[in-house]
Amino acid sequence: MPILEVDDIGVRFGGVRALDGLSFDVDKGQICALIGPNGAGKTTLFNVVSRLYKPTTGTVVFDGTDLLSVPADQIADLGIARTFQNLALVQGLSVLDNVKVGSHARSHGGFWSCALYFPQRAEEKRITAEAMEMLERIGLADLADHPCSALPFGTLKRIELARALASEPRLLMLDEPASGLTHQEVDELGDLIRTTTADLGITVLLVEHHMAMVMSLSEKVVVMDLGSKIAEGTPAEVRDDPMVISAYLGAPA
């Protein structure tokens, strides 16, 4: 049963068509990869689903809810979390606090109750414990109080993943999680994504150039070029698709 249904999405920037009638479904619990050349519109689609961009046409339905009618800040409440290609971490907060920002959508308390401090204490304790647990899961517990600036790129990528997971999402969108990592780190990250999301029953939408990771991780692959879908199927099907080879993978030399 599909949990995310993308239907006929079109996005224009000035005269440029970034997305042009894109449609696909993702089933519940599935890991689905979006691949395609630079500029194919993969990140644009992410930005549509997380309501940072407004599409000119089409609909996005998540678990029965029309996402385009939901304000951007309530996307997280629905259980959608994402990471960014170039990271979106809060430099001025510690590693632990960054992860706790991720749990914003499922915690409570506005200015008034926070100002009085005590009503929030129990919840704050719970969130801290959960965030620490998440950091332990990804092996960064030692860095909890370290400032987020001045950490290696690969570490920051993992912190961002932890931030996204801290919101206990039902749909996790990962934008190039493997970029800038070594081969070994990529393998570790792949295992981490697979086990974590399987444990928690999370659906994953993945944009990635690292083909080895895409092929080993995903159950379904959607190939995009110039803002539209040119193929979809299992990794094996897509790999042998002549159209995919000519547009993206390239003919063997």
Binding site: D73, V90, G92, H104, C114, E124, D145
Partner: protein, 371 residues
Amino acid sequence: MKSLRGVGPVQSVLWAIALVVLIVLPFTSAPFRVEQYITWMTIAVAAGGLNLLTGYNGQISVGHGALYGTGAYTVAILVTDAEWPLLPTVIAAAVVCFMVGVIIGLPALRIKGLYLALVTLAVATLFPLVIEQFSDLTGGSGGLTLTSEQLYRGSIRDRRVKWESPIDGLASDQWKYFIFLGISIVCFVVIAAIVKSRVGRSLVAIRDNETAAEVSGINVSRTKIITFGVSAGIAGIGGAMFALNKGQVNPTSFTLTLSIYLLVAVVLGGASTVIGPAIGAVIYGVFIDVIAPELPETLESATPLILGTLLVAQMLMAPSGIVGWFHDLTEKVSRRRQGGGKQDKNVDVTVTTHEVVAETDLETDPGGFHP
């Protein structure tokens, strides 16, 4: 990264000393000094409120002097015209300023950074003019004296408000000092509670990375507006304390200079640290009220020059303010003490291979901030 959890031994000692000084101070100073201390407190509170907005949330306001002034006039009018008892007017000032702050903050949804600074600058410039314009209510350029009906020589008359000490041996200025110290501490405890809560995290998230905030489910617009309001409300409490301390208000007290003063206190002490603005306010106060009058006459008019030079120098050399500088220092010291040679080794390996760096980074204890 100012630690919110756990206080190191150095910090505990400093807190204890500060507490003792705060208690002893009114007993060892002349009454006019005590009055100056209270003025510093009012500035500290208002700067603390401004810090919430400018330091933590990244919205620059050059107009908080106007909000401080609004708080002061609210108190003056309520006490003099509406005959309110003194302390409830402080709460009223906070509420009024909250609302005014929300209105001033509305443009902040469309504009940010330097643009917002400009709009708030205009607010600061307009404030004394608005006061003079509506002189029926505000007393115009003559100002207002806070009066209440008091028993005087056997009859009830309108007289300037006074702080009668209920405790024997505590002079009225000392009594006033402790009441305002109490209010100030409450304000800073509230600020600290906000800052270390989920709201505090959202403020910083909005400041540093609006996108990250948005996808984490933070309502950016609403948070910005309410922050403006809360910040204004706290600044209003500062202004209310000012009016109650001086017993009179006058438009010349709330010019652009005051707004600048508040901003300087925040930056000097350390923006986005809880206690920084208070330290900044005190240092500025000491400079203006204690040191500057002692300068030889030729140097007296050099005060703004010295201040300006110090400000530029501080921004270039220690942009995170006194508290930030102190944190860096204690961190360095505790690292050296704990790590010994390890720290130096880390610096060396940084340039050899990245795998080692990644590992040592993970092992490195960043200092005394662990729970």
